[in-house]
């Protein structure tokens, strides 16, 4: 993904004439397909078949606990999900988490990128520190923040004089901690993408603006940000899709209590915990469609240049 942002020197394009394939180019084609085969097969095996299977099973009333009771019900699972207020509550929760994390991460990530870009002091140390959250297991980040705010073990309440304010007994306070952990864990990724974008902003542009009397804020808004738009959009796209799938933090912090269930959590709960395969797969398919929708909106609407992301220029 991260190929991102930089137009790496395009590999020399050799256009093989379609009409006359020499022996060499034919063997090149064969080798290319051969080398790609294992990866493509594994990726297909784990995604295509299960997805089709989910589509198929979502049309049945089917529970693992009662396999003989499997019955074709058409789209009724989808109707059940879409007409349930709980489903929409989960959509809303997912949206809130996504919006909050992506917005805050962009701001903090930009700050981190600026520091990494400009700092002369302990540059290496800062970069290493920023990578730490990226490497930490999400579940462990979730435990760290949960225990920090927890009434039994936490220090947050005593540090900030909050007495015995129970963070995890309210919806918004729970979501706050979930979002905090998500932000801590994933901002490094955003900041690295933005750093790559910053490195592309021509220095002399900023200097010229300074000479012309632009303030730091004007330079940022008129020179820096427009020049790294591609990097920002790529970061937003990837983080949005990532946050939309949030699962680990919710599972560890609240197990979906206090109306903090997200779409991923609902899917997991229906398929694995309740073994209501048909309904769960319907929710899973809806989750998949929502991801496709977000991706299409970004790629078509905001024209995120994915050829940069794919690195196939």
């Amino acid at each position: 993904m991260m190929a991102a942002v930089q137009s790496a020197p395009a590999a020399t394009k050799r256009r093989a004439g379609r009409a006359e394939l020499s022996d060499r180019s034919r063997s090149e084609r064969r080798l290319g397909l051969l080398l790609s085969a294992p990866a493509v097969i594994v990726m297909l095996l784990v995604t295509a078949y299960p997805l089709l299977n989910a589509l198929y099973l979502s049309l049945f009333r089917y529970r693992i606990t009662a396999p003989d009771d499997k019955k074709f019900v058409g789209l009724s699972n989808y109707w059940t999900a879409l007409s349930d207020p709980l489903f929409w509550q989960n959509v809303f929760t997912t949206f809130i988490i996504t919006f909050a994390t992506v917005a805050v991460e962009l701001v903090i990530g930009f700050g981190l990128a600026m520091v990494m870009h400009r700092a002369l002091f302990a540059r290496r140390t800062v970069r290493t520190a920023i990578l730490l959250p990226y490497g930490i297991v999400t579940v462990i980040s979730a435990f760290a923040w949960r225990y920090a705010f927890d009434l039994q073990s936490g220090f947050v309440n005593s540090w900030f004089g909050l007495g015995d304010y129970a963070w995890f007994s309210g919806r918004w306070s729970s979501l706050f901690v979930i979002v905090l952990s998500e932000i801590w864990k994933t901002t490094p990724f955003v900041s690295l993408l933005l750093l790559a974008g910053l490195a592309q902003v021509p220095n002399d542009l900023g200097e010229a603006a300074t000479v012309d009397g632009a303030t730091a804020w004007q330079r940022l808004r008129r020179v820096t940000i427009p020049n790294m738009k591609a990097a920002i959009l790529v970061a937003v796209l990837f983080r949005t899709l990532d946050a939309w799938r949030i699962f680990d933090n919710v599972y560890i912090m609240t197990s979906g209590q206090q109306k903090t269930q997200t779409l991923s959590f609902l899917t997991y709960q229906q398929t694995i915990t309740r073994t209501a395969i048909g309904l769960g797969d319907a929710v899973g398919v809806l989750l998949f469609l929502s991801v496709v929708l977000i991706a299409v909106v970004f790629i078509r609407g905001f024209r995120v240049d994915l050829s940069q992301v794919r690195g196939d220029r």
Binding site: A3, E28, S36, A295
Partner: protein, 276 residues
């Protein structure tokens, strides 16, 4: 050029970043040295009585030790196989002219955006039918396929930077495309491959969704999933401190890798976009 004041500003900003990133990790470490009984009685950041007990507890608990072995084994195998596959594809994409190149890259991108949980239900069924449920292989396969996109991009970006004339020179000298790949390119590509391996390993080490969905016992359950089920030394004790000790144990390798290979990871995540 920079004034003294703004220099200080950058220093303060750097220090703030250090605190923000290290603090939660430090907190987990502190908790892991607290006595289980302190939880709920003594509040505060630092332990009142430092103790190694939690570490002894987790290493005496089968749930954790087998999970640790599972995590290491599964992640290492998945990383190895995934990186081999990714290297082959990335080489083909960077070097060879063949139909379906763009399709493969787009497909990899789509996989990276895929909501993993949508697949967990069907995989759960499928794995139970074909006997992969609760086995190492049952986790290795999904890990490979979801780590592949990142590895493929990283490697394609690295491979574009390699001086390919050397490969051509080898071919002029009579080597086949395959020999040129193995003897000339592989050694040159090793740093990129290594970076892809780090990123893939982090991905596998981090997984939770597959870990809790596709396992049911010590057989294959990796650490993040095991932590969610951990009850501590006894049912009557808070598992908090023991969970933290376990968390510290699985965080150590991550910290070591980050400290040792910081530059490579940054380069990998931005795929050569950041030189420095």
């Amino acid at each position: 050029m920079e004034s003294a004041r703004s220099k200080w500003l950058w220093i303060v900003a750097s220090l703030l970043i250090l605190v923000w990133t290290v603090f939660p990790i430090l907190w987990i470490v502190m908790l892991s040295f607290k006595q289980p009984g302190e939880i709920g009685n003594q509040k505060g950041f630092l332990p009142h009585h430092w103790t190694w007990d939690n570490y002894r507890t987790v290493f005496k608990t089968d749930l954790f030790t087998s999970a640790l072995i599972n995590s290491i084994g599964i992640s290492v195998i998945a990383t190895f196989v995934g990186v081999v596959f990714a290297t082959l594809v990335a080489y083909a994409i960077a070097r060879l002219e063949f139909p379906g190149k763009k399709l493969i890259l787009s497909f990899a991108l789509a996989i990276a955006m895929f909501p993993v949980v949508s697949l967990v239900g069907p995989l759960f069924n499928l794995w139970r039918d074909i006997g992969l449920y609760d086995t190492w292989l049952g986790l290795i396969i999904p890990y490979i396929s979801f780590a592949l996109p990142l590895a493929i991009w990283t490697l394609s970006a690295f491979f574009r930077e390699i001086p390919w004339e050397m490969e051509q020179a080898a071919q002029v000298d009579g080597a086949t495309a395959w020999q040129a790949f193995r003897k000339v390119i592989v050694p040159l590509a090793a740093p990129g491959v290594f970076t892809a391996a780090i990123l893939t390993f982090f991905f596998c080490w981090n997984d939770f969704v597959f870990g809790i969905s596709l396992t049911s016992s010590d057989n294959a359950r990796p650490v993040p999933a095991a932590l969610a089920f951990f009850t501590g030394a006894s049912q009557f004790e808070q598992p908090t401190t023991a969970i933290c000790a376990a968390a510290v144990v699985v965080t150590v390798p991550v910290v070591v890798i980050v400290l040792a290979f910081q530059r490579r990871i940054v380069a990998g995540l931005t795929s050569g976009a950041v030189k420095g």
